[in-house]
């Protein structure tokens, strides 16, 4: 799977601003769904002892306000939160309810490594080492094969990373599933495949990793979860008998890590429809075993032959992007059930298809120039109808762009106006009032007084529209691309100019050559002419001489004799 699919949910198509790519995705997805239903969204940064900039948000409707951190909201009870933060406690609770969990033990910070190694021996390798309270696979070693490896890993996790409190458990073989549950109901399931590449018989492993990372960029969920060629990856490669420079054969899949976390480069594939009922029951049981747990991402190792599963972890702040932007399978709208759960009264409410910009909102929160930003509700919850207009004409210095923006804002329309490099102006307008959108064409024609509009071309616009109306300027990336195009064009021109020049020179040379020949021929012609004249003169001379002879007296007198002579000749 080196190329990802990009079939997104239609209402999210092109609606993810760049600031939402990466770890702010869950926040944006929830905030967007809420905002689209008319729920008030408030972003803010919070004070914290770790000296970090942490952005949180809250949703408010009908006087009820809930604070959120990423996908974890305030409805989660403190008790449930604590039970899930401590992985040992989570396991105990699940085990009590009859959910299969890996056999293992927790070791407190003051335990010696020797004691841990002894325990691992009784458990039998391979084992898993994980800190008791970290998230997203930090410090987790999921397949330790030998005592030596475990010892090294222990030193690394406990001393270098500083997670002294750890869990050792039996490594369970099988496929790993991430199941998302809202109020005990499965709303999405993905099979997570560890960071991997598939050979094409041409590229080296290193090149394949680079290609894969490049293809990740377009997926909001994994665009920043790239595969780094680190120690673990190098180990996995060498275990399989390769080096980064090996060229794997076509269609050969190579797993680069043993743990399947998406944050270290893993691939989520949607399997919701194929999830066996047995596993759903196990997942439901696991959630029930922890009192107060409402929304969670559950990690399960599945024995596919027996349809049995071992739950290895429960996450109360699950990545929603796994299900909404899977790399294969069907995209699932897992946000809807979450907002339905928090604000059931909005379950069937109308929803606008506008989206809001995050980039400009996050920036001032990120550098702490603002403390809190509350969004305006969408202008209307009705569906937005949109058109795009391309305008040609002469606009320089007429303020056409700001005039258009003014008109759009006056009419409560959303979208943008942008001056293109070629001088054309691109406009996208969207609003609930279809008539206004159609009428906007005539406004495009009109423009401010000084503008001289020649043509307005109308096109349909089926993509989502960003709320508000803005004048877009060229981004750095666009400028760079334009620069590249221009220099390409320049080179092209240069080439053409060169060939033209060559042709030109050739032609000139040709002409010169022919001209010279012409000259020579003319000369020849002239000399021939003079020769001809000379000959003609000579002929004339002979003619006169001849006539003179004929007309002479002796000629006449000898006529008789010549006659006789000819008769005699004939007779002979």
């Amino acid at each position: 799977m080196n190329q990802y699919k990009t079939d997104w949910l239609p209402h999210l198509e092109d609606a993810i601003p760049s600031a939402a790519y990466g770890n702010k995705l869950s926040m944006y997805l929830i905030a967007l769904e809420a905002w689209r239903r008319g729920i008030t969204v408030n972003f803010h940064n919070i004070d914290n002892p770790e000296n970090k900039v942490l952005i949180r948000y809250s949703l408010e409707f009908n006087g009820r306000e809930y604070r959120f951190e990423s996908s974890r909201g305030e409805k989660l009870t403190e008790e449930a939160y604590k039970s899930c933060e401590n992985k040992d406690l989570t396991k105990k609770l699940m085990s009590k309810s009859g959910v299969a969990v890996p056999e293992g033990k927790r070791f407190e910070p003051d335990t010696d490594n020797d004691k841990i190694l002894d325990y691992a021996k009784t458990l039998g390798y391979p084992v898993v080492l994980k800190p008791t309270d970290t998230n997203s696979g930090k410090g987790v070693f999921s397949s330790i094969r030998s005592e030596r490896e475990l010892e090294e890993s222990l030193v690394y996790v406990r001393n270098k990373l500083g997670y002294k409190d750890i869990i050792i458990e039996k490594h369970v073989e099988g496929r790993e599933y991430r199941i998302l549950l809202v109020q005990g109901k499965v709303v999405g399931a993905v099979n997570r495949i560890p960071a991997n590449i598939i050979g094409d018989g041409k590229n080296t492993i290193e090149e394949l990793i680079k290609l894969k990372n490049k293809s990740k960029k377009g997926n909001p969920n994994i665009s920043k979860k790239l595969i780094n060629i680190d120690k673990e990856v190098l180990n996995s490669i060498s275990h399989l008998g390769y080096t980064p420079n090996s060229v794997p054969e076509e269609k050969k899949q190579i797993l680069l890590r043993s743990k399947s976390n998406v944050s270290t480069g893993g691939d989520p594939i949607d399997v919701t429809d194929d999830l066996p009922e047995e596993l759903k029951i196990i997942a439901g049981k696991a959630v029930k075993s922890i009192p107060g747990l409402d929304i969670c991402g559950l990690d399960m190792i599945v024995d596919e032959q027996n349809n049995s599963g071992t739950v290895i972890e429960i996450n109360t702040k699950p990545m929603l992007g796994l299900h909404i932007f899977p790399v294969a399978g069907k995209a699932r709208d897992v946000v809807k059930p979450i907002i339905d759960y928090y604000f059931p009264e909005t379950m069937n409410s109308k929803r606008t298809n506008l989206y809001f910009d995050l980039d400009n909102i996050i920036a001032p929160l990120n550098n702490v120039t603002t403390k809190e930003i509350r969004l305006l509700p969408p202008p209307s919850l009705e569906k937005v109808y949109a058109k795009s207009y391309k305008v040609t004409g002469d606009f320089t210095g007429t303020g056409y762009l700001s005039w258009i923006r003014q008109q759009a804002r006056k009419n409560n329309l959303n979208g943008y106006v942008k001056k293109m490099r070629d001088g054309q102006i691109a406009i996208v307008v969207g609003g609930v009032d279809k008539e206004k959108i159609e009428e906007f064409k005539s406004l495009c024609y009109r423009g401010p007084n000084e503008a001289n509009v020649q043509e307005v071309i109308e096109c349909d616009w089926n993509k989502t529209v960003k709320v508000g109306f803005e004048i877009l300027t060229e981004t750095k990336a666009e400028l760079r691309k334009e620069l590249k195009d221009q220099s390409n064009e320049k080179n092209h021109f240069k080439k053409r100019a060169k060939t033209f020049k060559q042709k030109n020179e050739e032609l000139q040379r040709d002409i010169e050559r022919t001209n010279q020949k012409l000259k020579r021929l003319k000369k020849e012609k002239a000399s021939l002419k003079s020769e001809k004249n000379k000959t003609l003169k000579e002929i004339q001379l002979y003619k006169t001489k001849y006539e003179a002879i004929i007309n002479s007296r002796s000629w006449r007198y000898t006529r008789l004799i010549r006659k006789v002579m000819s008769i005699i000749k004939r007779r002979e």
Partner: protein
């Protein structure tokens, strides 16, 4: 005080120039005292308007520029009508110029006949226009009177108007806050002061440059037009005249800012009588606690005629006068509304910090945000430091690292690379956080980044809230420049190409070329063989 005001001009972003300078300086004054500050948008006639709320523990007050929403609506409405204002002033026995107002029901003749009973010169003001629009001054005879009345009423459509005697003196704006006059400036017509070297035209250009960087005057320039030339001519001058050193040359007679008028601070020259009248004028309307009172003050005749009341005065003229000492009216207004915030502590450094108005206005104007809360001032004492860091610190990601360390500690300032390969950090924040930060910077040593020396100094300039990585000026600008250059080159090349193509064509069409066609064919034939 003087210092903080001169800094105000420095730190004021350009989008706060003009009327918003009032909002900027008032909100800044409140915020610096530790009041909570929130900006929010309001849609008025489909335009995004910005309002702000200052809150202390005792109260929240929302402002629209200098106007608090606690001022009664009726009062605001009255101040917008010259006619009703005049009535209220007269009721309170505040001196106003002799005159009368007229409306649609009055005929032109009625207006003219009344006007003739007054002593010339007269002035006519449309009742419901602001900013001096439509006002005709200096009417000295019947003919001008008739023309002006007819023009205003019939051509320009101002049916409602006030006709009054033009009073003499200097047009002075007094700011009343509570029971006090806290500032006053007079407006003088557009003018230049000679230096014995430059022509009037040159002096105007110099003046316009100065106006452009004055937050109060930047939006109006002195126009070099026909009117100006005629005015100068009527005074025996021209644009080419070189006025003597110190000689003031007026360029028109208007005291309206848009016509190039200037403000001269005159607070210290006011008589007690003028002040008393201003306070009484403000009191003529209920709840008008902050008021801009326009008075025509004639020092010789000792008359003070109140012309107008303004419930939402622009305080920029006092903050940034062209002449005279600037007055911090914001301070007086905030003192009045939030007496609990008055403090003598000028040493905490809070007056050196300012918030990022530019970014805030930008997101509010984007039309998607309803409300923005400005981060509060740190409670503890603020320190301002600059660190000059040398070592292996450029091109190794040091600035990004500094950014993260600073921003989490809510340290404001910036980091930038210097030419000598060192890095400059400006850090403002609470004492313990800045100390922590300095320690972290000093000890930073990794494979990539090595901090060798840190030179620590006090930083004395104002600092904007938030932390910035200062990049070399305008990367995007250079890109754009390059692009434009490339486009130029391409244009040239295209032109050359066209020229060559033309040449080629003309060559092909030349007679010799045509005539030699058979020959060329033969040659080619021979060549081919």
């Amino acid at each position: 005080m003087e210092n903080s005001l001169s800094q105000l001009k420095e730190i004021m972003p350009e989008n706060a120039y003009g009327a918003n300078s009032t909002m900027f300086s008032m909100s800044l004054e409140g915020w610096r005292r530790g009041l909570k500050l929130k900006f929010f948008t309001k849609y008025v006639k489909n335009q995004v308007k910005i309002r702000y709320t200052l809150s202390s523990e005792e109260r929240d007050i929302t402002f629209q520029l200098s106007l608090a929403e606690t001022v009664p609506k009726e009062t605001r409405k009255t101040t917008r009508s010259k006619k009703n204002t005049k009535k209220a002033l007269q009721n309170s026995n505040v001196p106003t110029p002799k005159g009368k107002s007229f409306d649609e029901e009055n005929s032109d003749e009625e207006v003219i006949n009344y006007a003739k009973t007054l002593e010339y010169p007269l002035v006519i003001k449309p009742t419901n226009a602001s900013l001096g629009i439509g006002v005709v001054t200096g009417i000295y005879d019947d003919q001008t009177l008739v023309d002006s009345v007819k023009n205003l009423r019939n051509k320009k459509g101002y049916k409602e108007m006030i006709v009054e005697q033009q009073v003499t003196g200097e047009d002075t704006r007094l700011f009343v806050v509570g029971n006090q006059v806290c500032s006053a400036f007079k407006r003088i017509a557009a003018n230049v002061v000679g230096d014995g070297k430059h022509t009037i035209e040159e002096l105007i250009k110099i003046k316009n440059k100065e106006r452009r960087i004055n937050p109060h005057l930047s939006k109006s320039q002195i126009k070099l037009g026909k009117e100006l030339r005629e005015y100068l001519e009527s005074h025996g001058l021209s644009l080419e005249t070189i006025p003597q050193k110190g000689e003031r040359v007026f360029l028109n007679e208007s005291t309206i800012a848009s016509a190039g008028a200037e403000t001269v601070e005159v607070t210290n020259e006011l008589t007690e009588e003028s002040k008393r009248i201003a306070v009484e004028a403000a009191k003529s309307l209920p709840g008008l606690v902050v008021c801009g009172v326009d008075i025509m003050i004639d020092k010789k005749k000792r008359t003070n005629y109140v012309l107008e009341l303004n419930s939402r005065p622009n305080i920029g003229g006092s903050l940034f006068p062209v002449e005279g000492e600037a007055q911090n009216i914001s301070k007086h207004i905030i003192d009045y509304y939030f007496p609990e915030s008055i403090s003598d502590d000028e040493t905490s450094g809070r007056n050196k910090l300012y918030f990022d108005y530019e970014s805030i206005e930008k997101i509010l104007k984007s039309g998607i945000v309803e409300e923005v809360t400005v981060p509060s001032l740190p409670d503890n004492d603020l320190v301002f430091k600059q660190l000059k860091v040398s070592g292996k610190v450029q091109g190794v990601g040091f600035r990004n690292w500094v950014y993260k360390k600073a921003i989490g500690r809510k340290i404001s300032g910036y980091v930038k690379n210097l030419k000598d390969k060192s890095v400059l950090i400006v850090a403002a924040g609470s004492q313990n956080k800045v100390d922590q930060f300095t320690e972290v910077v000093r000890k930073h040593n990794t494979k990539k980044i090595q901090v060798e020396k840190v030179k620590e100094d006090e930083y004395t300039e104002p600092v904007k809230v938030g932390f910035e990585i200062v990049n070399k000026p305008g990367k995007i600008k250079t890109l754009k420049n390059n692009l434009n250059k490339e486009q130029e080159k391409n244009k040239k090349l295209t032109y050359e190409l066209e020229q060559t193509t033309k040449q080629l064509k003309s060559l092909k069409q030349s007679k010799s070329w045509k005539y030699t066609l058979p020959m060329r064919k033969i040659i080619r034939l021979i060549k081919n063989k």
